[in-house]
Amino acid sequence: MSTSKIEIDGVGKSYVSGKRRDRKVVNALQGVNLTIAPGGFVSLLGPSGCGKTTLLKCLDGLIPITDGEIRVGGKAIKGPGRDRAFVFQDFRLFPWRSVLGNVCFPLETTVSSRAERETTARKYIEMVGLSAFEKHHPHELSGGMQQRVGIARALAVNPDILLMDEPFGALDAQTRELMQVELLRIWELTGKTVVFVTHSVDEAIFLSQRIAVFSARPGRISAEFDVPFGYPRNEHTVRGDGRFVELRHEIWGLLKGDQNSSFSE
């Protein structure tokens, strides 16, 4: 069970874009506040370009923030750490390594024994249901299977926090639903904190306990919602529930309003 609370405190991220003449400061994020309880499942939801992925990368320490502070377990983060693991939208597996080799990769800096690394890696490969494929290379796997490897790789370092950047965005609808159920199973099994970026309202509601809705330019959180369903969740009962429909409607309204206002700008 993870114990690290995530506190996002007045976070801003701005950068200079353009050359000489039309140089301007872009506020990718401004005044973002969010607290995520240990072991929680929170979705960052919003349209493309609203800064949700930027915030996730800041959480990992892949890009530095320009304002505010992000604390994990009370300590301000200064860069990538082994308490957090990142799952990429486009999988980012190494094509020259097998499934086993890919999952072993992040362990190579910390675990010196090869046998020990492989034991750990195999445990997580089994967890994502790919034991029969550990010798396969990424190009021999489907997109869904590749992302399972991506998840196993992230779990292998035994992080407190999983940062997932639209992990199922590149998958077809059926695979996507399957992966959502899988992810919830793994989350309940491991007790990690999950921060999940998505632009799908349905996905956010089905998966998370809490949803932070983003609006764009500057990227900030415009509303937070609690999802009124317990776990384990069943797809059909959740999606058929009146509260699902209601919440979906409410969030959609918020996103639409935001889009309209940005159109009229």
Partner: protein, 248 residues
């Protein structure tokens, strides 16, 4: 597939026929018939001349390629990885690359003479840049994609270079070597023209100056075959070593 090959063979036969018809109207010193050319090729091989010439050229190309590969891959990785270095020196390399390298021959002759050392230098002038630029661009392009993964998992820089960048640029290294070798062939032929006249370049030059046109055509044919073989062989290696890569 079969149809493609039929068309290719038909085209080849048609070309042979045209060659035959045109050659019949001309002096053998200008254009020998296909039959004469084949006979000349057989004679060159029987006398061992073609093998000797290619043997000399092969040694020169091999030495130059080993040096170009070491330098090209080494510097390519260094320049791709350290952006500052690239910013400082790339204009120099770029302008050298754009300069017609044939123009370097007099300087190479002044500095290194006319023998093998000079020839190796000339061949390197042709092959090094291909390898260097392909590898450097390779490092730059794998950087964002795979290096981010290493960063996200707290892998130190040196280790990232060794375990992520080096395997990731394998296809670029092989492509660079293939291009480098193709250009090395240009270099080795020119070396035989302008420096000491040995190897395949020297042979071509001598045959041409003595109006031994049938043998000249045969020698040119051997250059074509070697070029094709080099290209094909390294493409095979490319798909073997990097099965995930769609061959460029």
């Amino acid at each position: 597939m079969v149809r493609d090959w039929l068309v290719r063979i038909a085209t080849f036969c048609a070309l042979l026929l045209v060659w035959q018809l045109v050659a019949q109207q001309m002096s053998a010193a200008i254009l020998p018939t296909p039959q004469r050319t084949v006979n000349a090729l057989i004679a060159l091989i029987e006398r061992g001349e073609l093998q000797t010439a290619w043997g000399q050229s092969a040694v020169q190309v091999a030495v130059a390629m080993v040096l170009s590969a070491l330098l090209g891959v080494g510097l390519g990785v260094l320049f791709g990885w350290y952006r500052k270095l690239d910013q400082l020196f790339s204009p120099l390399f770029g302008s050298l690359f754009l300069m017609p390298r044939v123009a370097l021959i007099p300087l190479i002759a002044l500095w290194f003479g006319l023998q093998d050392v000079a020839k190796v230098m000339l061949i390197m002038a042709f092959s090094f840049f291909e390898i260097f630029f392909t590898v450097r661009n390779g490092v730059k392009s794998v950087e964002s994609e795979y290096v981010d993964v290493a960063r996200a998992y707290c892998v130190p820089q040196g280790r990232t270079l060794r375990t992520v960048v080096m395997p990731a640029i394998r296809p670029y290294i092989i492509t660079g070597l293939r291009l480098g070798l193709v250009y090395a062939l240009v270099g080795v032929v020119l070396a035989g023209f302008f420096l000491e006249a040995n190897g395949i370049g020297g042979m071509i030059y001598d045959l041409g100056s003595n109006f031994r046109t049938a043998e000249l055509m045969a020698a040119l044919f051997s250059v074509m075959v070697v070029g094709l073989a080099v290209n094909l062989g390294l493409r095979q290696l490319e798909t073997r070593l990097t099965p995930w890569q769609v061959s460029r």
